[in-house]
């Protein structure tokens, strides 16, 4: 499949992602934030597809948008949001935080401006058709140990979440 209108789609998806990101951190209502985050995640899945990473895109949709965000919505529905909506949304030191984050952004910009030439033209065409197989080979070959650790981590997370959220164990 040769990509079509790459430039347009890139800017479109990037805009969707970044604007949704802005909405995530500015909305008063957490549910709206969560919806914006879902949109950002979907936009990012599109970006993954453009980067020839269909498997990651699929995992992004199925796990992030379909799984983790449902969890978020669940919790938002459980906690009272009406009270928190009326309160002050930003903490006392918001200006410091903002400045720090902007400084970080400036740092990024600096680095990218300086190292711009490092990236150009070095892209290799990845085999898109066998992407899933390649990832599987890496995942169950080179990264077998990490994979097992990840499964253990998930188990611990399940137990932790149950312990935390259950009223009486």
């Amino acid at each position: 499949m040769q990509p079509v209108a790459t430039t347009f789609f890139f800017y479109f998806l990037a805009a969707v992602t970044v604007l949704s990101g802005v909405l995530v951190i500015t909305r008063r209502n957490p549910v709206h934030s969560a919806l914006a985050l879902i949109l950002a995640l979907l936009g990012q899945a599109g970006l993954y597809l453009m980067l020839y990473a269909p498997f990651v895109a699929g995992v992004q949709i199925i796990l992030y948008a379909g799984g983790i965000m449902v969890l978020f919505l669940f919790v938002i529905m459980l906690v009272s949001i009406e009270k928190s909506q009326k309160e002050e949304q930003f903490n006392n030191m918001w200006i410091v935080g903002l400045l720090a984050a902007l400084a970080l952004g400036a740092l990024f910009i600096g680095v990218y401006v300086k190292g711009r030439d490092l990236f150009a033209g070095r892209e290799v065409a990845l085999p898109e058709q066998s992407n899933t197989q390649q990832i599987a080979i890496l995942l169950y070959g080179n990264y077998m140990f990490a994979f097992e650790i990840a499964s253990l981590l998930l188990l611990v997370a399940i137990i932790g979440a149950v312990v935390m959220a259950k009223k009486r164990i």
Partner: protein, 101 residues
Amino acid sequence: MVPITTLHYLVVAAALFVLGVIGVLTRRNVVIVLMSIELILNAVNLNLVAFSRLYGLHGQVFAIFVITDAAAEAAVGLGILIAFFRNKETVNVDEVDLLKW
């Protein structure tokens, strides 16, 4: 038009990262702070996947591990949030100022 290079993706990722950091540092609502952390993790993922075009598929595998991490983090974080809300009846990070009560 300028062809889309890895740098473009890195800029998007950096923007997302900065947005996430702003969210974490300035918002009071724990839920939104957790969502901002998700944004940060996603920015990292985007970087990893973008770099995998330069250095092979390892980046994509790492992205999958990061997603796993994000799932674990969300589960535990939201669990803590529920426990916290049950005790304090608020979701403001400012109020989380005790290690034990």
